[in-house]
């Protein structure tokens, strides 16, 4: 009984923390603080997963969101140097449109959650080793397996990665279209990361 009481108290503490942090994300004026609050909200969500015995999901939540997404957001904020949102007084029209859109979103999402029947497996138990089960299900090509979505997602990620590299690269290889146009002709003989590049040719191979 005491254990379940502790469990309940913990749940409400974490849930309240998640809600407060999520409010802080949208209410703070400083972008970096919003990112930190987002990190807190995502971590407490991981705490909720851990309380549901979904350890793997909790670990991945922290790994992907805290170590990946939030760090990426912080990097973007640092690089763009727009630390503060300076708009103090939005016009009445923008306030009205914003209010309508957010109330509409609230109504539709609450309605969707309210109206859909969730099959709660009240008697079910989480598997003892959920990482093992998830891994098997992800690579299973029989019924109930998810190998096709898994591979499709990896293709999508590969495409996104290639797109990022194409956008970021400064020096296009000669004769290739659709790159952003570099400052040096022909990358292959020019870019030597390990050689000293401070001679007067600007690192150009003679």
């Amino acid at each position: 009984m005491i254990a379940s009481a502790i469990y309940t108290v913990l749940f409400y503490a974490i849930a309240a923390g998640t809600i407060l942090l999520a409010l802080a994300v949208v209410n703070t004026r400083k972008l970096l603080r919003a990112a930190v609050a987002l990190m807190g909200a995502l971590s407490t969500t991981a705490g909720l997963y851990a309380m549901l015995d979904a350890q793997f999901l909790a670990g991945v939540q922290v790994l992907v969101y805290v170590g990946g997404i939030v760090v990426l957001i912080v990097f973007a904020i640092m690089l763009t140097r727009s630390g503060e949102l300076l708009e103090d007084n939005p016009t009445l029209k923008r306030k009205l449109v914003g209010a309508v859109i957010s109330i509409g979103f609230l109504v539709s999402s609450v309605g969707a959650v309210w109206g859909s029947p969730f099959a709660i497996a009240s008697a079910g138990k989480a598997p003892a080793n959920d990482a093992l089960m998830i891994g098997k299900a992800l690579l299973d090509y029989g019924p109930g397996g998810f190998v096709v979505p898994f591979e499709v997602i990896s293709l999508l990620l590969l495409a996104a990665m290639l797109g990022g590299i194409v956008i970021a690269r400064k020096t296009p290889p000669t004769g290739q279209p659709f790159t952003s146009g570099g400052d040096l002709p022909g990358e292959a003989e020019v870019y030597h990361p390990l050689s000293q590049r401070d001679d007067e040719t600007g690192g150009r191979a003679s």
């Binding site: 970096l32 350890q55 805290v66 170590g67 760090v71 912080v74 990097f75 640092m78 990361p193």
Partner: protein, 378 residues
């Protein structure tokens, strides 16, 4: 304790008789038995033990680092405070605690205060899952390896926040460098770590140690283990920002990097986190590749193995960890600091391809059972 009972204890430990009796499980057991006080005592002991470990290993590691640095350079190092200067770090710690804690006027104060705690939190969370001995582990979670990789994200956030909130260009550049470096080298460290996960078939750190009963993965894995050991050591050296990968705090260009604007207690948090991180990554290396608390055994030499079993598992863990720590400290006085482009070249064009090929080779080795000793953990 007589030698006989010690031997019995060590053999039982090596056979896994005490497997998975972590402090958290004892707490849960005490709780289920209705003895509140015992459960609370366990929790207090665990927290106090972690605090003691952090403080003590911080003091020892800083002293050892200074002494080793001195002897590598044919100096004596600290000699005045106590015998051969063993109380030097205590004196330094007292000085740091008494110093004024300055917060820059234009700094983002809340973030400035939060950053060192995030760094420290990431470190201490890993200490909670390391198996120090078969009966000494705070908690063993199913996703141990994943957990260790995940919480390092908080460390990155701590450094980035510290750099940004100081409102100082040096801090900012240092934080950006540290962030980019840690994120990059995390990939190689994870690839190397996955090789061990492939061989042991488990993410739990205690089970990974158990799986090395027949031989440590560094040599039992037919070469791929050794390659991933080397990749892992290089990658974690970069992850904890130590020379030759210490451009985030390169003194000659960035003052002190991301912690330029920190002083007093908050600076010592960053400083301590850095040194405990060294203990953490060395402990991880020992756990994954060097058998954790497993004693050193050679095949069927019963006499030799029995003699090795006499040494308690905690000493095995500490010894292996110390060897890796010495290795990392040795790097510092051997290799010059890398430039930013060299750093990225090493990760993305050298370590990453080798890591992928190595992981693939490891998969082949595991799939076709190409390694000499039998697997004990299914």
């Amino acid at each position: 304790m007589t030698a006989t009972s010690l031997t019995y204890f060590a053999i039982a430990a090596a056979q896994g008789a005490f497997k998975n009796v972590t402090v958290s499980e004892r707490t849960a057991q005490a709780f289920a038995d209705g003895s509140w006080i015992l459960a609370i005592v366990y929790i207090v002991v665990a927290l106090g033990g972690l605090a003691a470990l952090v403080t003590l290993s911080g003091l020892v590691l800083i002293y050892v680092e200074r002494k080793l640095a001195a002897h590598f350079q044919c100096r004596l190092g600290p000699m005045r405070v106590g015998w051969h200067g063993i109380f030097q770090t205590v004196a330094d710690a007292v000085k740091l605690l008494l110093k004024e804690d300055v917060i820059p006027e234009k700094a983002d104060k809340a973030m400035h205060l939060l950053a060192p705690f995030l760094s420290m939190m990431a470190t201490v969370m890993v200490l909670g899952v390391l198996p120090y001995s078969p009966i000494l582990q705070i908690t063993d979670i199913n996703i141990g390896v994943l957990f260790v990789t995940a919480v390092s994200g908080f460390g990155v956030m701590g450094i980035l926040l510290g750099g940004w909130s100081s409102n100082n260009k040096w801090s900012m550049v240092g934080a950006m460098r540290a962030g980019a470096q840690i994120i990059s080298y995390e990939i190689s460290a994870t690839l190397a770590l996955l090789v061990v996960v492939l061989f042991s078939g488990s993410l739990s750190l205690a089970e990974i140690v158990q799986s090395q009963d027949a031989g440590w993965w560094i040599w039992r894995a037919n070469g791929v283990g050794f390659v991933s050991f080397i990749i892992f050591v290089i990658a974690v050296t970069a992850e904890i920002n130590r020379t030759p990968f210490d451009i985030p705090e390169g003194e000659s260009e960035l003052a002190a990097g991301f912690h330029t604007e920190y002083s007093g207690l908050r600076f010592s948090f960053f400083f301590l986190a850095e040194f405990i991180n060294m203990f953490v990554v060395s402990g991880m290396t020992a756990t994954l590749f060097l058998g954790g608390w497993m004693p050193f055994h050679i095949g069927a030499w019963a006499g030799f193995n029995g003699f090795m079993d006499l040494i308690p598992p905690v000493l095995w863990f500490t010894g292996k960890t110390s060897v890796v720590i010495f290795l990392i400290m040795w790097f510092r006085w051997t290799f010059p600091r890398l430039r930013v482009d060299q750093l990225m070249y090493l990760e993305w064009k050298v370590l990453l391809p080798i890591g992928f090929v190595n992981l693939f080779a490891a998969a082949v080795v595991v799939l076709y059972n190409l390694y000499p000793f039998p697997i004990l953990v299914p």
